[in-house]
Symmetry: C2
Subunit: 300 residues, 2 copies
């Protein structure tokens, strides 16, 4: 099964207590595509970069089997984001956001990709997510990630997007904020009633929760010895999640649970090094090694 990934592609400046990385390839579509391509072929990326975007990065995508036919290179500067994490890496300050060519991003899905099996909507404005859905014909599964910014600034549009997706992925704070619920489970159930068949609530270092009509699934995080850079963890989770589903070619509750674990595994690699460093060569064996560890560590 193939996966159409739409999202941002950026050049990041990252500061964490473990060090600094500059001009690093980032953005939701980057992390999602790389993580997904560890588990499956047929990853297709749609995004926009400026004329300053290093060709090396595009080459790396291709080496991983990611089809970059939807990568639009526009005149101008690539989206740049700078962030500084606190000692407690759950907190971060945005140093700057320079949208560059991303300001005018209107995702255009190449004709042959309009019949993609799985559509993975990375974290972009919900109206752009809808614009993608209007171009694709009957995808078998639509997965959507979002962020607090859209809850605050484009709530109505976001609710509309959520009504059109099969799987909604978001973090615990966002789930509570969007539903005005105090407890994660109640938030998950409220989100489920808004349309999706599955709601995945990410809790960072505390794991994830899958809420579905069929039941509940509680996943731990993979305990990494040292976290160097949390950037992209949520996107890598989403990438591992859809990559696993594409690999299995099945959208049942059991596969969704397993996909949450595959996403957890992918995210655990992501945070161990700066940017995409620890995922450059990420493959199925690596993802499944930690998947099996998580299985061992949760059975009682």
């Amino acid at each position: 099964m193939n996966i159409l990934v739409v999202g941002s592609i950026a050049l990041d400046h990252i500061e964490t207590p473990a060090g600094v990385l500059d001009e690093a390839v980032g953005g939701s579509a980057t992390y999602i595509s790389i993580a997904a391509s560890a588990l499956t072929d047929g990853v297709r990326v749609v995004g926009i970069v400026g004329d300053d975007f290093p060709e090396d990065h595009v080459e790396h995508f291709r080496e991983r089997g990611i089809d970059t036919g939807g990568l639009h290179r526009a005149a101008g500067k690539t989206f740049r984001w700078g962030g500084r994490y606190h000692e407690d890496m759950n907190e971060r300050d945005t140093l700057y956001t320079e949208l560059g060519v991303f300001a005018d991003f209107r995702p255009i899905i190449p004709e042959p990709w309009k019949a993609s099996d799985i559509v993975m909507l990375g974290n972009i404005h919900p109206s752009l997510q809808q614009h993608v859905l209007e171009q694709v014909a009957l995808p078998r599964l639509v997965v959507c990630d979002t962020m607090n910014l859209w809850i605050q600034t484009a709530r109505e549009s976001l609710v509309k997007t959520i009504g059109r997706v099969d799987v909604l992925i978001l973090n615990d704070q966002e789930a509570k904020q969007l539903t005005n619920e105090r407890e994660v489970l109640a938030a998950g159930e409220a989100l489920l009633s808004m349309g999706p068949s599955f709601v995945v609530i990410k809790k960072g270092e505390h794991g994830a929760m899958l809420v579905a009509k069929e039941g509940l699934f509680l996943a731990p995080a993979y305990p990494v010895p040292v976290v160097k850079d949390p950037t992209g963890a949520g996107d890598s989770f989403a990438g591992g999640f859809v990559g696993y589903i594409a690999r299995r070619g099945n959208f049942g509750f059991d596969v969704m649970k397993q996909a949450v674990i595959a996403g957890t595994s992918a995210a655990s690699y992501c945070v161990e090094e700066f940017g995409i460093e620890s995922m450059r060569d990420l493959d199925t064996d690596a993802v499944m090694e930690r998947y099996r560890k998580l299985q061992e560590w949760t059975v009682f």
Copy 2:
């Protein structure tokens, strides 16, 4: 198997966003004993109360099969604690602490209890915990809970206690503080090297981690729809934990994992109502019902 429980017995004043409770029976020994007695007979409690302590509470212990032969009633006032939880109930302010007769508490173990099978050291000064261990002869299992106060004020003594116990229970912040480690797993491994065979790290609403020479176990929290009062959750966890172990009569890694889940279940009942309210009639069926739910929700 019987369990010797030593800890505080208090009259609590509790304020949470869900309401206020006054003159409520509390303290570590209270919650531990009640939760443990849901799973096993043979719970024995050692503690001190003042002449103002309502006989009703003692009667409730007895009705639950808790042996109160070690409950010392002294002239003076019972230990009183007042606390106010924030909107985010992970935060609380102590309104007052009036030690009363607890200031002079030197736990005296009744002669017939000196051969107890399991010793459960509730959260009291580590030197008192050692004083208990000096009185008991070759217990089969010693389990110890602690808190940040002793890490800050009696670190050396606490380290000595830890060196003498089989199972150490503490929360994630305490584990990090005591070991100067940034990650929970690293903290758990460092604590393991200090003597215990098992380290249980509680993460509140995020579950718990069991670190052992035999391996690792990651437990989720039970997702309760509404948390009314977190007071006693950690003690109820410890009570469910030792109660399950006593019931099974086995100290292997598998039983320890299951005991973490039983503790998780007990704690989930505790937080649903104020004080001990939701645990007044807690029994094995109720604990095991949520145990099985957690099993269902974690298999993938």
